[in-house]
Assembly symmetry: C2
Homo-oligomer: 170 residues x 2
């Protein structure tokens, strides 16, 4: 099965992100707004239950809740036309991402980690210029706490279903 | 905020349900296929963190994983035109539903509990007769395990986001 690990930000940030995703993100209906902390990977059910979940529990137990800030919109252009709410990278989130690629956990890291919440993707070049031109002007002053991450698996229709929550310090 | 409690069945049952939901359920994109074990209720964040989550943990800790079977499609007609995969009611699931309405947990039970996975709703009377006529003929032989439930909250766009997972026996 195909699994992934994400942090779902608090409701007010999900609502803010959805106000853009609704128009600009074809994945809008597949998963709520999120910060991907481990890209999708394939794993057997037995591996998930016997190796991966125990390791995720250890990682969560040894992590402490931390704050994150969002101040602006950024983009992966020219690599892709993805536009996102930029999550200011903190030591804690970078460290969480690293731990999720070590030991028994598959090292499926393809790019350097840029914490973000996607709000637009798969736009044509023309749409991208137009939309990014406008969203780039936005300023945010959002500060929220991260105190958990979630292991999800993907259904046949492409949507993601949460399998388990891992709370920091537990 | 508006919260609800659901059990997400294993992937193969979610995929089966989605094959019908895609065509017949306008809530298809709002939440993956699920068994509602507590209908939506309003609660303050502080109440969730200080009272409700500790109680849900206690309930999960004192529950044991149990099996459930799906053998056929049924409907809430004539009350509503909802069509669902009928989850054979077991002592365990009925007891779980009861515990989720006791003590500090809001007693927001309006109907007697009929465990089910909705696959079609809000159909016109004509569509309903046609679709239910066909789906009623289906026979299933699905047996799966329930070993967790999830607390969700609803976003402004109507979709549901998982806040926390509660595993039985933990």
């Amino acid at each position: 099965m195909r699994y992934g690990i994400a942090v779902f930000p608090p409701k007010r940030i999900q609502d803010e992100a959805n106000s853009y995703r609704k128009r600009y993100d074809p994945h809008y209906a597949l998963i709520p707004p999120h910060i991907t902390v481990k890209e999708p990977f394939e794993a057997e059910d037995s591996q998930i239950d016997n190796e991966i979940i125990p390791e995720l529990k250890r990682i969560a137990k040894h992590s402490k809740p931390f704050k994150f800030n969002i101040n602006k919109v950024s983009s992966f252009s020219p690599a892709t036309n993805t536009i996102y709410l930029k999550v200011n990278p903190s030591e804690e989130i970078v460290s969480l991402n690293e731990k999720l690629h070590e030991g028994v956990l598959p090292d499926n890291k393809e790019y350097s980690f840029v914490p973000h919440i996607t709000i637009a993707q798969k736009l044509s070049d023309e749409e991208f210029s137009d939309v990014y031109g406008r969203l780039q002007m936005l300023k945010f002053d959002l500060e929220e706490k991260i105190d958990r991450f979630q292991l999800l698996y993907q259904l046949e229709n492409g949507t993601w279903s949460v399998y388990e929550t891992f709370r920091f310090g537990e």
